[in-house]
């Protein structure tokens, strides 16, 4: 029943509720699709037995009238989330066969609501990357190809497995995380919807840490409404994460389709960067026109420190990473490579266990935090971060949300940028500002470029105002009527 994998999450949940099919049937269709798509390398661990077991249990709950919000829906889980009894590696060699004895709060929330786990999804090592090429399991291949071509493209990163799996119909939705753009850029590259909520909306407990003041979980899905349904389950206050916000989680789906008439949408002029492809510029203008037609008021705004967000990020994120990743010492879990003494054992373990990009960032982080450089780099970056956050505060005095492109290009070829770290970092130029300021940001597929590859538009909202993003997001989705799907070649 391959058509079951073509459903949106919403339609699948409606179908389950109406008894048109069982979770077991729905899950089996997805398990088969996953097995047939190994060429994409989206999953690093398939858990079909567990999936079918969870599906049968879900069918039982539904028969007893105890079905939860996501009951019976098969999902993919980014390998950054710890899953009890199921290998969780952050796609790093240093975690080896690490099998958590606990469950991350976000995934626990999904299972509480009845979701089914299909397996663990590929990603850049420790979520450090924008192309999925730093994964210890090898890159994910984007299900999209240039029209008429067969070259392998990146699905983006770091949540490349999540985005590819959703686009290729290998799950109804997926968890992802976003430290500098890792949900939104892959969503844009694969024609899917991704939202990074406000910092603190989702608990970070049980998610392998990269940069703690920036990391935030969110969903990747096929529609704005699906993303809303997933985020409603994933979010919620958790005393185990001290930065988790003690606020109510609204029913985000109730904001989808609401009128956006009279909402003020800001267009930040600094996002018009040199060398941006004309197609992206045109799509942005198209988005402005769509929102005008839907009754929004368009306001030009200024975020003067935008260009400094990325360099500030490349101090703050590596600094936090170098500290967080100090825990991988080969003593309590994961890889250990013995040396002549303790220090050498640490050094060999970390040299062998970390990939090149992770080492690069640990070294930068260690350098900027080292004696004599702290003020010049780290403190300076934190001050610039404040400037960036202030820019947003001022803009949000005048507008309800901002509209920008998600990424400066469509998906590029695997290998195209892997030799030039700074060129790779520039992928996140439009997304990273939001992480620094702790704000919610959503990418919505809005059109195809001349090569037939998807492009995304980004909406940025006020803190804790994801609801407005879901309203405007569904207006963009409706106007764009983006129905394109990758042609199946795998």
């Amino acid at each position: 029943m391959s058509e079951l994998t073509e459903l949106t999450l919403k339609d699948a949940l409606d179908g389950l509720a109406a008894g048109r099919f069982s979770s077991e049937e729905l899950t089996r269709a997805h398990v088969e699709a996953v097995e047939a798509a190994r060429e994409l390398n989206a999953y690093v661990l398939e858990t079909p037995e567990r999936a079918l077991e969870m599906a049968k249990a879900s069918d039982g709950r539904r028969a007893r009238g105890e079905a939860g919000r996501l009951d019976g829906a098969p999902l993919g889980i980014k390998d950054l989330f710890c899953t009890e009894g199921v290998r969780s590696t952050a796609c790093s060699k240093i975690l080896g066969n690490f099998t958590p004895t606990y469950e991350s709060s976000v995934t626990a929330n999904l299972w509480r609501d009845g979701a089914v786990m299909l397996g663990k999804l590929n990603m850049d090592e420790f979520a450090m990357g924008s192309s999925n090429e730093t994964s210890a399991f090898g890159p994910v291949v984007n299900p999209w190809r240039i029209e008429g071509g067969n070259g392998k493209l990146t699905p983006g990163g770091s949540s490349g497995g999540s985005a590819a799996a959703v686009a290729a119909q290998l799950c109804l939705g997926a968890t992802a995380t976003d430290t500098g753009g890792s949900i939104r850029q892959p969503a844009a590259f694969t024609g899917t919807v991704g939202i990074k909520p406000t910092y603190g909306r989702c608990s970070r407990w049980g998610i392998v840490a990269f940069a703690s003041s920036l990391d935030q979980a969110g969903p990747i899905a096929r529609t704005v409404e699906d993303a809303a349904i997933l985020l409603t389950s994933m979010a919620g206050h958790d005393p185990k994460d001290s930065t988790s916000l003690p606020v109510e989680t609204p029913d985000f789906a109730s904001f989808c389709g609401k009128s956006v008439k009279g909402l003020r949408v800001g267009i930040p002029k600094e996002y018009r960067v040199d060398g941006m492809p004309a197609e992206i510029e045109a799509l942005w203008q198209q988005g402005i026109n769509w929102l005008k037609d839907a009754g929004c008021e368009i306001v030009e705004v200024s975020l003067p420190h935008t260009k400094y967000a990325l360099p500030a990020y490349y101090i703050v994120a590596p600094a936090e990473a170098s500290s967080n990743l100090a825990r991988y010492d080969g003593m309590r879990y994961g890889l250990r490579v013995d040396g002549a003494n303790l220090t050498e054992t640490y050094e060999n373990t970390r040299a062998e266990g970390f990939g090149a990009e992770v080492k690069r960032r640990i070294l930068i982080g260690t350098y900027v935090l080292s004696a004599g450089y702290y003020d010049a780099y780290y403190l300076k970056a934190q001050k610039v971060r404040r400037r960036i956050a202030d820019d947003f505060d001022q803009a949000f005095e005048k507008v309800d949300a901002l509209l920008t492109p998600t990424a400066p290009s469509a998906a590029f070829a695997l290998g195209e940028k892997s030799d030039d770290p700074v060129a790779m970092y520039l992928n996140d130029i439009f997304t990273v500002t939001v992480n620094l300021a702790g704000l919610p940001g959503m990418s919505i597929p809005a059109g195809l470029d001349a090569n037939g590859l998807p492009l995304g538009l980004q909406l940025i909202g006020k803190a804790l105002d994801e609801g407005t993003l879901f309203s405007i997001g569904s207006a963009v989705e409706k106007a764009a009527a983006f129905k394109a799907r990758p042609q199946k070649w795998w």
Binding site: N97, F98, T99, T101, Y102, T198, Y199, G200, S213, L214, P239, S242, T243, L245, P246, H305, Y308, P311, A312, Y314, I315, A326, D329, M331, R332, Y333, G334, R336, N341, L342, T343, E344, Y346, E347, R350, A351, K359, R360, I362, L363, I364, T366, Y367, S370, Y377, L379, K380, Q382, K383, V384, R385, R386, R387, A389, P421, V422, N435, L436, A437, G438
Partner: protein, 95 residues
């Protein structure tokens, strides 16, 4: 160049990552490229700006100082590379 090979060696030591000598020079070039690009932050006037240390304006919550978890050594040791009689086995720390 912001960083030379000797600095990379020192930083790698601080980070406890073994880097072979022939990698130090290329790494120095790579890291300098990144740090040179980061230098543009000096264009920003940050006089009198308070550093941003938290992504949200919320104060950290306090809780009662009580044990909430633990008492399960088997779980703690489950992923250890080496254990013996309920302990982690690690290289000799004191010579």
């Amino acid at each position: 160049m912001a960083i030379d090979a000797a600095t990379v060696k020192k930083v790698a030591r601080l980070a406890r990552i073994a880097e072979p000598d022939d990698k130090l020079e290329p790494l120095a070039r790579e890291l300098s490229g990144i740090l040179d690009w980061i230098e543009q932050l000096n264009e920003v006037d940050t006089d009198g700006v308070a550093p941003m240390t938290s992504a949200v304006a919320a104060s950290l919550p306090m809780r009662d100082d009580v044990v909430t978890d633990g008492g399960d050594p088997a779980k703690v040791l489950a992923n250890a590379p080496k254990t013996e009689r309920g302990f982690f086995v690690v290289p000799k720390v004191v010579e």
